[in-house]
Protein backbone atom coordinates (compact mmCIF):
# COMPACT_ATOMS: atom_id res chain seq x y z
CA UNK A 1 0.00 0.00 0.00
CA UNK A 2 2.82 2.35 0.93
CA UNK A 3 4.62 1.51 -2.30
CA UNK A 4 1.46 2.13 -4.31
CA UNK A 5 0.89 5.45 -2.57
CA UNK A 6 4.49 6.50 -3.26
CA UNK A 7 4.06 5.52 -6.90
CA UNK A 8 0.90 7.60 -7.20
CA UNK A 9 2.64 10.52 -5.53
CA UNK A 10 5.62 10.21 -7.91
CA UNK A 11 3.35 10.10 -10.97
CA UNK A 12 1.46 13.06 -9.58
CA UNK A 13 4.68 15.00 -9.03
CA UNK A 14 5.78 14.21 -12.57
CA UNK A 15 2.43 15.37 -13.94
CA UNK A 16 2.61 18.61 -12.02
CA UNK A 17 6.13 19.06 -13.39
CA UNK A 18 4.84 18.63 -16.95
CA UNK A 19 2.07 21.13 -16.32
CA UNK A 20 4.54 23.64 -14.90
CA UNK A 21 6.94 23.13 -17.81
CA UNK A 22 4.13 23.65 -20.31
CA UNK A 23 3.02 26.80 -18.54
CA UNK A 24 6.60 28.06 -18.33
CA UNK A 25 7.10 27.44 -22.04
CA UNK A 26 3.95 29.39 -22.91
CA UNK A 27 4.95 32.35 -20.83
CA UNK A 28 8.66 32.64 -21.51
CA UNK A 29 8.15 35.15 -24.32
CA UNK A 30 7.27 38.78 -23.56
CA UNK A 31 3.82 40.13 -24.27
CA UNK A 32 4.21 42.51 -27.19
CA UNK A 33 0.69 42.24 -28.65
CA UNK A 34 -1.26 45.29 -29.74
CA UNK A 35 -0.48 48.17 -32.02
CA UNK A 36 2.81 50.08 -31.70
CA UNK A 37 3.17 53.67 -32.85
CA UNK A 38 5.64 56.52 -32.69
CA UNK A 39 5.13 58.46 -29.45
CA UNK A 40 3.14 61.70 -29.73
CA UNK A 41 5.27 64.49 -31.18
CA UNK A 42 7.90 62.18 -32.67
CA UNK A 43 8.42 62.74 -36.38
CA UNK A 44 9.73 60.48 -39.12
CA UNK A 45 13.37 61.53 -38.96
CA UNK A 46 15.96 58.81 -38.32
CA UNK A 47 17.19 59.95 -34.88
CA UNK A 48 13.93 60.94 -33.19
CA UNK A 49 15.78 63.20 -30.72
CA UNK A 50 17.06 65.55 -33.46
CA UNK A 51 15.42 67.52 -36.27
CA UNK A 52 15.31 66.15 -39.81
CA UNK A 53 18.22 66.95 -42.13
CA UNK A 54 21.75 68.17 -41.32
CA UNK A 55 20.85 68.44 -37.61
CA UNK A 56 20.83 64.64 -37.48
CA UNK A 57 24.64 64.94 -37.44
CA UNK A 58 25.01 61.64 -39.22
CA UNK A 59 28.61 60.35 -39.08
CA UNK A 60 28.91 60.34 -42.88
CA UNK A 61 32.16 59.90 -44.78
CA UNK A 62 33.16 63.02 -46.77
CA UNK A 63 31.97 61.33 -49.97
CA UNK A 64 28.52 60.57 -48.56
CA UNK A 65 28.29 63.97 -46.85
CA UNK A 66 28.41 65.43 -50.38
CA UNK A 67 25.74 62.96 -51.52
CA UNK A 68 23.58 64.09 -48.59
CA UNK A 69 24.09 67.80 -49.30
CA UNK A 70 23.21 67.24 -52.97
CA UNK A 71 19.98 65.52 -51.83
CA UNK A 72 19.01 68.46 -49.66
CA UNK A 73 19.81 70.92 -52.46
CA UNK A 74 17.73 68.91 -54.93
CA UNK A 75 14.78 68.78 -52.53
CA UNK A 76 14.99 72.56 -52.07
CA UNK A 77 14.73 72.89 -55.85
CA UNK A 78 11.58 70.72 -55.92
CA UNK A 79 13.14 67.29 -56.50
CA UNK A 80 13.14 64.20 -54.32
CA UNK A 81 16.91 64.05 -53.74
CA UNK A 82 18.08 60.77 -52.29
CA UNK A 83 14.67 59.69 -50.97
CA UNK A 84 13.66 56.79 -53.22
CA UNK A 85 10.24 56.17 -51.67
CA UNK A 86 8.31 58.66 -53.82
CA UNK A 87 7.88 55.96 -56.48
CA UNK A 88 6.45 53.68 -53.76
CA UNK A 89 9.65 51.74 -53.25
CA UNK A 90 9.53 50.62 -49.61
CA UNK A 91 11.97 52.24 -47.18
CA UNK A 92 13.57 48.90 -46.25
CA UNK A 93 15.89 48.46 -43.29
CA UNK A 94 16.70 50.18 -41.08
CA UNK A 95 14.31 53.01 -42.07
CA UNK A 96 11.27 50.70 -41.75
CA UNK A 97 11.75 50.84 -37.98
CA UNK A 98 10.85 54.53 -37.98
CA UNK A 99 7.32 53.06 -38.09
CA UNK A 100 5.76 55.87 -40.11
CA UNK A 101 2.43 54.04 -39.71
CA UNK A 102 1.76 51.54 -36.89
CA UNK A 103 3.11 48.01 -36.55
CA UNK A 104 2.18 44.85 -34.73
CA UNK A 105 4.42 42.06 -33.56
CA UNK A 106 3.70 38.32 -33.59
CA UNK A 107 6.02 36.22 -31.48
CA UNK A 108 6.31 32.52 -32.31
CA UNK A 109 9.08 30.27 -31.00
CA UNK A 110 10.70 29.95 -34.42
CA UNK A 111 10.25 33.51 -35.69
CA UNK A 112 9.04 36.94 -34.72
CA UNK A 113 7.03 38.86 -37.30
CA UNK A 114 6.97 42.64 -37.40
CA UNK A 115 4.11 43.83 -39.59
CA UNK A 116 4.38 47.49 -40.51
CA UNK A 117 1.40 49.25 -42.07
CA UNK A 118 3.59 51.71 -43.99
CA UNK A 119 4.53 50.25 -47.38
CA UNK A 120 3.16 46.82 -46.39
CA UNK A 121 6.44 45.68 -44.87
CA UNK A 122 6.57 42.33 -43.07
CA UNK A 123 9.83 41.50 -41.30
CA UNK A 124 10.48 37.87 -40.44
CA UNK A 125 13.07 37.63 -37.69
CA UNK A 126 14.14 34.01 -37.46
CA UNK A 127 14.85 32.81 -33.91
CA UNK A 128 15.22 29.10 -34.69
CA UNK A 129 19.01 29.11 -34.54
CA UNK A 130 19.55 29.14 -38.27
CA UNK A 131 22.64 30.55 -39.95
CA UNK A 132 22.75 33.15 -42.74
CA UNK A 133 21.46 31.63 -45.96
CA UNK A 134 23.82 31.53 -48.90
CA UNK A 135 21.17 31.77 -51.60
CA UNK A 136 18.73 34.44 -50.32
CA UNK A 137 17.88 37.22 -52.78
CA UNK A 138 18.84 40.65 -51.43
CA UNK A 139 15.78 42.62 -50.36
CA UNK A 140 14.90 46.08 -49.06
CA UNK A 141 14.13 44.62 -45.63
CA UNK A 142 17.11 42.28 -45.65
CA UNK A 143 17.30 38.95 -43.85
CA UNK A 144 16.97 39.03 -40.06
CA UNK A 145 18.19 36.54 -37.49
CA UNK A 146 17.25 37.06 -33.86
CA UNK A 147 18.11 35.70 -30.46
CA UNK A 148 15.99 35.93 -27.33
CA UNK A 149 17.86 36.86 -24.16
CA UNK A 150 16.76 36.45 -20.54
CA UNK A 151 18.76 39.32 -19.07
CA UNK A 152 17.51 39.20 -15.48
CA UNK A 153 17.48 35.42 -15.17
CA UNK A 154 13.80 35.19 -14.21
CA UNK A 155 13.08 32.48 -16.77
CA UNK A 156 11.38 34.92 -19.17
CA UNK A 157 12.89 36.51 -22.25
CA UNK A 158 13.34 40.27 -22.05
CA UNK A 159 15.34 41.30 -25.10
CA UNK A 160 15.22 40.34 -28.75
CA UNK A 161 18.64 40.86 -30.31
CA UNK A 162 18.44 41.06 -34.09
CA UNK A 163 20.99 41.27 -36.86
CA UNK A 164 19.91 42.11 -40.40
CA UNK A 165 21.97 41.70 -43.56
CA UNK A 166 21.35 41.03 -47.24
CA UNK A 167 19.83 44.38 -48.14
CA UNK A 168 19.38 45.92 -51.56
CA UNK A 169 18.82 49.53 -52.53
CA UNK A 170 18.11 52.26 -53.12
CA UNK A 171 17.53 53.04 -49.42
CA UNK A 172 18.01 56.05 -47.18
CA UNK A 173 17.69 56.67 -43.46
CA UNK A 174 14.89 59.19 -43.77
CA UNK A 175 12.96 61.45 -46.12
CA UNK A 176 15.77 64.03 -46.31
CA UNK A 177 17.75 61.47 -48.30
CA UNK A 178 20.30 60.77 -45.56
CA UNK A 179 22.15 58.08 -47.50
CA UNK A 180 23.32 54.56 -46.89
CA UNK A 181 26.13 53.28 -49.11
CA UNK A 182 25.20 52.12 -52.59
CA UNK A 183 27.22 48.92 -52.01
CA UNK A 184 24.27 47.77 -49.83
CA UNK A 185 26.62 46.04 -47.39
CA UNK A 186 24.66 47.53 -44.49
CA UNK A 187 24.49 45.55 -41.25
CA UNK A 188 21.79 46.53 -38.75
CA UNK A 189 21.88 45.38 -35.13
CA UNK A 190 18.87 45.88 -32.87
CA UNK A 191 18.02 45.32 -29.24
CA UNK A 192 14.25 45.36 -28.78
CA UNK A 193 12.69 45.29 -25.31
CA UNK A 194 9.91 46.68 -23.15
CA UNK A 195 10.66 49.61 -20.88
CA UNK A 196 10.90 48.20 -17.35
CA UNK A 197 8.82 51.00 -15.87
CA UNK A 198 6.23 51.21 -18.64
CA UNK A 199 5.09 47.96 -20.22
CA UNK A 200 3.33 49.91 -22.97
CA UNK A 201 6.60 51.41 -24.20
CA UNK A 202 8.78 49.37 -26.55
CA UNK A 203 12.39 50.39 -27.15
CA UNK A 204 14.53 49.55 -30.16
CA UNK A 205 18.25 50.40 -29.99
CA UNK A 206 19.23 50.39 -33.66
CA UNK A 207 22.91 50.35 -34.64
CA UNK A 208 23.69 50.78 -38.32
CA UNK A 209 27.07 49.70 -39.67
CA UNK A 210 27.43 51.03 -43.19
CA UNK A 211 30.25 52.09 -45.48
CA UNK A 212 28.68 55.54 -45.87
CA UNK A 213 29.36 56.07 -42.14
CA UNK A 214 32.69 56.66 -40.38
CA UNK A 215 31.54 54.61 -37.37
CA UNK A 216 28.55 52.51 -36.26
CA UNK A 217 25.62 54.85 -35.65
CA UNK A 218 23.21 54.00 -32.82
CA UNK A 219 19.83 55.65 -32.33
CA UNK A 220 16.98 54.69 -30.01
CA UNK A 221 13.45 54.36 -31.36
CA UNK A 222 10.50 54.24 -28.99
CA UNK A 223 7.01 52.96 -29.68
CA UNK A 224 3.87 53.32 -27.58
CA UNK A 225 1.18 50.65 -27.39
CA UNK A 226 -2.51 50.92 -28.29
CA UNK A 227 -4.25 47.82 -26.95
CA UNK A 228 -7.48 48.43 -28.89
CA UNK A 229 -6.15 49.12 -32.33
CA UNK A 230 -7.78 50.10 -35.58
CA UNK A 231 -5.72 49.10 -38.60
CA UNK A 232 -5.77 51.01 -41.84
CA UNK A 233 -4.77 49.88 -45.28
CA UNK A 234 -1.76 51.71 -46.68
CA UNK A 235 -1.61 51.61 -50.44
CA UNK A 236 1.23 53.90 -51.54
CA UNK A 237 0.38 53.69 -55.21
CA UNK A 238 -3.21 54.77 -54.69
CA UNK A 239 -3.29 58.33 -56.00
CA UNK A 240 0.51 58.60 -56.06
CA UNK A 241 1.06 61.73 -58.13
CA UNK A 242 4.81 61.35 -58.53
CA UNK A 243 6.03 60.09 -61.89
CA UNK A 244 9.58 59.22 -62.76
CA UNK A 245 10.52 59.22 -66.44
CA UNK A 246 14.13 58.30 -67.08
CA UNK A 247 16.17 60.23 -64.51
CA UNK A 248 13.64 63.04 -64.09
CA UNK A 249 10.67 63.19 -61.82
CA UNK A 250 7.42 65.00 -62.54
CA UNK A 251 4.03 65.43 -60.95
CA UNK A 252 0.53 64.70 -62.21
CA UNK A 253 -1.77 67.68 -61.55
CA UNK A 254 -5.19 67.38 -59.95
CA UNK A 255 -6.72 67.79 -63.43
CA UNK A 256 -4.63 64.92 -64.81
CA UNK A 257 -1.81 66.67 -66.67
CA UNK A 258 1.93 66.16 -66.34
CA UNK A 259 3.58 69.13 -64.64
CA UNK A 260 7.10 70.15 -63.65
CA UNK A 261 8.43 69.83 -60.10
CA UNK A 262 11.26 72.29 -60.63
CA UNK A 263 11.30 75.83 -61.91
CA UNK A 264 11.87 75.89 -65.67
CA UNK A 265 11.94 72.07 -65.88
CA UNK A 266 11.66 70.88 -69.46
CA UNK A 267 8.92 68.38 -70.41
CA UNK A 268 9.92 64.76 -71.03
CA UNK A 269 11.36 63.79 -74.37
CA UNK A 270 8.46 62.34 -76.34
CA UNK A 271 10.52 61.00 -79.25
CA UNK A 272 8.74 57.65 -79.29
CA UNK A 273 5.42 59.27 -80.20
CA UNK A 274 4.82 59.66 -83.91
CA UNK A 275 2.03 62.21 -83.58
CA UNK A 276 2.12 65.71 -82.14
CA UNK A 277 -0.21 66.81 -79.37
CA UNK A 278 -3.30 68.43 -80.77
Amino acid sequence: MLLQRSLIASVLAALIGVATAAAADDSKYPEWRGQWRRPPGVGIQWDPTKPLGPAQQAPLTPEYQKVFEASIADQRAGGQGGDPTFTCIPPGMPRAMTVVFPMDIIILPEATYIIIEYSNQVRRIYTDGRDWPKEAEPSFLGYSIGKWVDEDGDGKYDVLEVETRGMKGPRSFDASGLPVHTDNATVVKERIYLDKANRDLLIDNVTTIDNALTRPWTVTKKYVRDRNPIWFEYNCTENNRHVQIGKDNYYVSADGFLMPVRKDQAPPDLKYFKQGQN
Binding site: L15, I106, V122, F140, T237, P267, P268, D269, L270
Partner: protein, 278 residues
Amino acid sequence: MLNRNIIIAAVAALALATVTAQAQDASKYPDWSGQWKRPPGAGIQWDQTKRPGRDQNPPLTPEYQTIFEASLADQAKGGQGENSRVTCSTNGMPRVMTVIRPIEFVIQPKLTYVIFESYMPRRIYTDGRSFPTDQEPAMIGYSIGNWRDLDGDGRYDLLEVETRNFKGPRNLEATGIPLHRDNQTVVKERIQLDKTAKDTLLNEITVIDNAFTRPWTITKKYIREQGKVIWNEDECGENNNHVVIGKDNYFLSADGYLMPTRKGQQPPDTRYFNQTRN
Protein backbone atom coordinates in the same frame (compact mmCIF):
# COMPACT_ATOMS: atom_id res chain seq x y z
CA MET B 1 -6.00 7.28 5.20
CA LEU B 2 -9.22 7.83 3.23
CA ASN B 3 -8.71 11.58 3.37
CA ARG B 4 -5.17 11.25 2.09
CA ASN B 5 -6.28 9.06 -0.84
CA ILE B 6 -9.02 11.52 -1.72
CA ILE B 7 -6.55 14.41 -1.67
CA ILE B 8 -4.07 12.48 -3.85
CA ALA B 9 -6.82 11.51 -6.30
CA ALA B 10 -8.17 15.07 -6.43
CA VAL B 11 -4.76 16.62 -7.01
CA ALA B 12 -3.94 13.96 -9.61
CA ALA B 13 -7.22 14.65 -11.41
CA LEU B 14 -6.53 18.38 -11.30
CA ALA B 15 -3.00 17.95 -12.65
CA LEU B 16 -4.20 15.63 -15.41
CA ALA B 17 -7.01 17.99 -16.33
CA THR B 18 -4.56 20.91 -16.45
CA VAL B 19 -2.11 19.07 -18.68
CA THR B 20 -4.89 17.78 -20.92
CA ALA B 21 -6.52 21.20 -21.20
CA GLN B 22 -3.22 22.81 -22.15
CA ALA B 23 -2.44 20.11 -24.68
CA GLN B 24 -5.92 20.45 -26.19
CA ASP B 25 -5.65 24.21 -26.30
CA ALA B 26 -2.29 24.05 -28.06
CA SER B 27 -3.45 21.51 -30.59
CA LYS B 28 -7.03 22.53 -31.31
CA TYR B 29 -6.02 24.60 -34.34
CA PRO B 30 -5.06 22.89 -37.59
CA ASP B 31 -1.49 22.84 -38.81
CA TRP B 32 -1.45 25.28 -41.69
CA SER B 33 2.17 26.24 -41.15
CA GLY B 34 4.59 26.57 -44.03
CA GLN B 35 4.42 28.18 -47.41
CA TRP B 36 1.37 27.79 -49.67
CA LYS B 37 1.49 28.16 -53.45
CA ARG B 38 -0.77 27.65 -56.43
CA PRO B 39 -0.58 24.04 -57.66
CA PRO B 40 1.71 23.40 -60.65
CA GLY B 41 -0.03 24.46 -63.84
CA ALA B 42 -2.61 26.66 -62.10
CA GLY B 43 -2.51 30.14 -63.57
CA ILE B 44 -3.63 33.44 -62.09
CA GLN B 45 -7.17 33.32 -63.45
CA TRP B 46 -10.06 33.52 -60.99
CA ASP B 47 -11.55 30.02 -61.42
CA GLN B 48 -8.49 27.77 -61.52
CA THR B 49 -10.39 25.14 -63.54
CA LYS B 50 -11.10 27.43 -66.51
CA ARG B 51 -9.06 29.61 -68.82
CA PRO B 52 -8.85 33.36 -68.09
CA GLY B 53 -11.21 35.74 -69.82
CA ARG B 54 -14.58 34.82 -71.33
CA ASP B 55 -14.08 31.12 -70.57
CA GLN B 56 -14.51 31.94 -66.91
CA ASN B 57 -18.23 32.39 -67.65
CA PRO B 58 -18.72 34.92 -64.86
CA PRO B 59 -22.43 35.39 -64.06
CA LEU B 60 -22.29 39.08 -64.93
CA THR B 61 -25.31 41.31 -65.30
CA PRO B 62 -25.75 42.67 -68.84
CA GLU B 63 -24.37 46.05 -67.70
CA TYR B 64 -21.19 44.50 -66.28
CA GLN B 65 -20.83 42.05 -69.16
CA THR B 66 -20.55 45.14 -71.36
CA ILE B 67 -17.85 46.56 -69.06
CA PHE B 68 -16.00 43.22 -69.21
CA GLU B 69 -16.17 43.15 -73.02
CA ALA B 70 -14.83 46.72 -73.15
CA SER B 71 -11.94 45.66 -70.89
CA LEU B 72 -11.04 42.76 -73.17
CA ALA B 73 -11.27 45.01 -76.24
CA ASP B 74 -9.02 47.63 -74.63
CA GLN B 75 -6.45 45.02 -73.66
CA ALA B 76 -6.49 43.64 -77.21
CA LYS B 77 -5.38 47.12 -78.37
CA GLY B 78 -2.57 47.40 -75.82
CA GLY B 79 -4.45 49.00 -72.94
CA GLN B 80 -5.03 47.67 -69.44
CA GLY B 81 -8.83 47.59 -69.49
CA GLU B 82 -10.29 47.13 -66.03
CA ASN B 83 -7.07 45.68 -64.60
CA SER B 84 -6.19 48.28 -61.99
CA ARG B 85 -3.04 46.43 -60.92
CA VAL B 86 -1.12 48.33 -63.61
CA THR B 87 -0.42 51.17 -61.16
CA CYS B 88 0.61 48.66 -58.46
CA SER B 89 -2.62 49.25 -56.58
CA THR B 90 -3.23 46.22 -54.39
CA ASN B 91 -5.55 43.62 -55.93
CA GLY B 92 -7.76 43.59 -52.86
CA MET B 93 -10.25 40.90 -51.91
CA PRO B 94 -11.09 38.42 -53.19
CA ARG B 95 -8.44 38.55 -55.95
CA VAL B 96 -5.51 38.39 -53.49
CA MET B 97 -6.60 34.83 -52.69
CA THR B 98 -5.52 33.80 -56.19
CA VAL B 99 -2.13 33.68 -54.45
CA ILE B 100 -0.05 34.90 -57.34
CA ARG B 101 2.97 34.63 -55.06
CA PRO B 102 3.18 32.36 -51.98
CA ILE B 103 1.34 33.01 -48.73
CA GLU B 104 1.65 32.03 -45.10
CA PHE B 105 -1.02 31.54 -42.44
CA VAL B 106 -0.22 32.52 -38.87
CA ILE B 107 -2.96 31.25 -36.58
CA GLN B 108 -3.40 32.93 -33.21
CA PRO B 109 -6.36 32.16 -30.93
CA LYS B 110 -8.16 35.42 -31.67
CA LEU B 111 -6.73 36.33 -35.02
CA THR B 112 -5.50 34.55 -38.12
CA TYR B 113 -3.09 36.40 -40.37
CA VAL B 114 -2.71 35.69 -44.06
CA ILE B 115 0.69 37.06 -45.02
CA PHE B 116 1.45 37.82 -48.67
CA GLU B 117 4.68 38.67 -50.44
CA SER B 118 3.03 41.48 -52.36
CA TYR B 119 0.33 43.04 -50.22
CA MET B 120 -0.62 44.07 -46.72
CA PRO B 121 -1.54 41.00 -44.64
CA ARG B 122 -5.17 40.04 -44.10
CA ARG B 123 -6.29 40.01 -40.48
CA ILE B 124 -9.15 37.57 -39.91
CA TYR B 125 -10.62 38.22 -36.48
CA THR B 126 -11.86 35.10 -34.68
CA ASP B 127 -12.56 36.70 -31.30
CA GLY B 128 -16.32 36.86 -31.73
CA ARG B 129 -16.48 40.53 -32.68
CA SER B 130 -19.12 42.02 -34.97
CA PHE B 131 -18.44 44.06 -38.08
CA PRO B 132 -17.38 47.56 -37.00
CA THR B 133 -19.44 50.53 -38.07
CA ASP B 134 -16.59 53.05 -38.09
CA GLN B 135 -13.89 51.25 -40.08
CA GLU B 136 -12.49 52.88 -43.23
CA PRO B 137 -13.32 50.84 -46.35
CA ALA B 138 -10.29 48.94 -47.65
CA MET B 139 -9.26 47.05 -50.77
CA ILE B 140 -8.72 44.02 -48.52
CA GLY B 141 -11.98 44.65 -46.62
CA TYR B 142 -12.64 43.63 -43.04
CA SER B 143 -12.67 39.91 -42.25
CA ILE B 144 -14.36 38.03 -39.43
CA GLY B 145 -13.80 34.31 -39.06
CA ASN B 146 -15.29 31.42 -37.17
CA TRP B 147 -13.43 28.16 -36.46
CA ARG B 148 -15.51 24.99 -36.83
CA ASP B 149 -14.91 21.48 -35.53
CA LEU B 150 -16.82 19.59 -38.20
CA ASP B 151 -16.07 16.03 -37.11
CA GLY B 152 -16.32 16.62 -33.37
CA ASP B 153 -12.82 15.36 -32.60
CA GLY B 154 -11.99 18.42 -30.47
CA ARG B 155 -9.88 20.02 -33.18
CA TYR B 156 -10.87 22.75 -35.58
CA ASP B 157 -11.04 21.72 -39.23
CA LEU B 158 -12.56 24.66 -41.01
CA LEU B 159 -12.17 28.42 -40.94
CA GLU B 160 -15.28 30.20 -42.18
CA VAL B 161 -14.61 33.80 -43.12
CA GLU B 162 -16.84 36.66 -44.17
CA THR B 163 -15.32 39.82 -45.62
CA ARG B 164 -17.10 43.12 -46.15
CA ASN B 165 -16.44 46.88 -46.23
CA PHE B 166 -14.56 47.29 -49.46
CA LYS B 167 -13.37 50.08 -51.65
CA GLY B 168 -12.27 49.86 -55.27
CA PRO B 169 -11.40 49.63 -58.03
CA ARG B 170 -11.24 45.84 -57.74
CA ASN B 171 -11.66 43.02 -60.23
CA LEU B 172 -11.25 39.27 -60.19
CA GLU B 173 -8.36 38.70 -62.57
CA ALA B 174 -5.99 40.38 -65.00
CA THR B 175 -8.52 40.28 -67.84
CA GLY B 176 -10.57 42.75 -65.83
CA ILE B 177 -13.61 40.66 -64.81
CA PRO B 178 -15.29 43.50 -62.96
CA LEU B 179 -16.81 43.86 -59.53
CA HIS B 180 -19.56 46.40 -59.00
CA ARG B 181 -18.45 49.96 -58.43
CA ASP B 182 -20.76 50.24 -55.42
CA ASN B 183 -18.17 48.10 -53.55
CA GLN B 184 -20.92 46.23 -51.71
CA THR B 185 -19.12 42.94 -52.33
CA VAL B 186 -19.47 40.23 -49.68
CA VAL B 187 -16.93 37.41 -49.80
CA LYS B 188 -17.50 34.15 -47.94
CA GLU B 189 -14.69 31.64 -47.61
CA ARG B 190 -14.48 28.11 -46.25
CA ILE B 191 -10.80 27.24 -45.76
CA GLN B 192 -9.75 23.73 -44.79
CA LEU B 193 -7.16 21.07 -45.45
CA ASP B 194 -8.05 18.43 -48.00
CA LYS B 195 -9.03 15.38 -45.95
CA THR B 196 -7.06 13.08 -48.21
CA ALA B 197 -4.04 15.34 -48.77
CA LYS B 198 -2.88 17.30 -45.73
CA ASP B 199 -0.54 19.39 -47.83
CA THR B 200 -3.41 20.70 -49.94
CA LEU B 201 -5.47 23.58 -48.63
CA LEU B 202 -8.88 24.23 -50.15
CA ASN B 203 -10.52 27.64 -50.19
CA GLU B 204 -14.13 27.65 -51.33
CA ILE B 205 -14.83 31.29 -52.16
CA THR B 206 -18.30 32.68 -52.76
CA VAL B 207 -18.50 36.21 -54.11
CA ILE B 208 -21.78 38.06 -53.69
CA ASP B 209 -21.66 41.23 -55.76
CA ASN B 210 -24.11 43.47 -57.57
CA ALA B 211 -22.19 42.95 -60.82
CA PHE B 212 -23.40 39.31 -60.71
CA THR B 213 -26.80 37.78 -61.30
CA ARG B 214 -26.13 35.22 -58.52
CA PRO B 215 -23.46 34.36 -55.93
CA TRP B 216 -20.41 32.94 -57.70
CA THR B 217 -18.58 30.09 -55.97
CA ILE B 218 -15.21 28.70 -56.99
CA THR B 219 -12.61 26.66 -55.13
CA LYS B 220 -8.95 27.64 -54.96
CA LYS B 221 -6.33 25.04 -54.13
CA TYR B 222 -3.01 25.80 -52.52
CA ILE B 223 -0.21 23.29 -51.99
CA ARG B 224 2.31 23.32 -49.16
CA GLU B 225 5.96 23.74 -50.11
CA GLN B 226 7.75 20.50 -49.29
CA GLY B 227 11.26 21.75 -49.88
CA LYS B 228 13.11 24.63 -48.29
CA VAL B 229 10.88 27.64 -47.73
CA ILE B 230 12.29 30.84 -49.18
CA TRP B 231 10.31 34.08 -48.87
CA ASN B 232 10.92 36.79 -51.42
CA GLU B 233 10.03 40.45 -51.37
CA ASP B 234 7.70 41.38 -54.23
CA GLU B 235 7.67 45.15 -54.64
CA CYS B 236 5.42 46.08 -57.52
CA GLY B 237 6.57 49.71 -57.40
CA GLU B 238 10.15 48.69 -58.10
CA ASN B 239 10.78 49.04 -61.83
CA ASN B 240 7.10 49.40 -62.71
CA ASN B 241 7.26 50.71 -66.27
CA HIS B 242 3.56 51.53 -66.50
CA VAL B 243 2.74 55.22 -66.17
CA VAL B 244 -0.76 56.60 -65.83
CA ILE B 245 -1.25 60.28 -66.64
CA GLY B 246 -4.84 61.44 -66.40
CA LYS B 247 -6.93 58.72 -67.99
CA ASP B 248 -4.20 57.42 -70.29
CA ASN B 249 -1.60 54.82 -69.66
CA TYR B 250 1.87 54.83 -71.18
CA PHE B 251 4.98 52.74 -70.90
CA LEU B 252 8.56 53.59 -70.05
CA SER B 253 11.05 52.24 -72.54
CA ALA B 254 14.17 50.42 -71.40
CA ASP B 255 16.18 53.55 -72.25
CA GLY B 256 13.97 55.75 -70.06
CA TYR B 257 11.58 57.44 -72.47
CA LEU B 258 7.81 57.64 -72.37
CA MET B 259 6.27 55.57 -75.15
CA PRO B 260 2.75 54.75 -76.38
CA THR B 261 0.93 51.55 -75.48
CA ARG B 262 -1.57 51.79 -78.33
CA LYS B 263 -1.14 52.30 -82.04
CA GLY B 264 -1.50 55.98 -82.90
CA GLN B 265 -1.64 57.05 -79.22
CA GLN B 266 -1.12 60.76 -78.61
CA PRO B 267 1.66 61.90 -76.25
CA PRO B 268 0.64 63.44 -72.93
CA ASP B 269 -0.45 67.06 -72.90
CA THR B 270 2.48 69.19 -71.67
CA ARG B 271 0.52 72.42 -71.22
CA TYR B 272 1.95 73.03 -67.74
CA PHE B 273 5.54 73.26 -68.97
CA ASN B 274 6.86 76.70 -69.88
CA GLN B 275 9.92 75.31 -71.59
CA THR B 276 10.27 73.11 -74.60
CA ARG B 277 12.77 70.29 -74.64
CA ASN B 278 15.93 71.14 -76.60
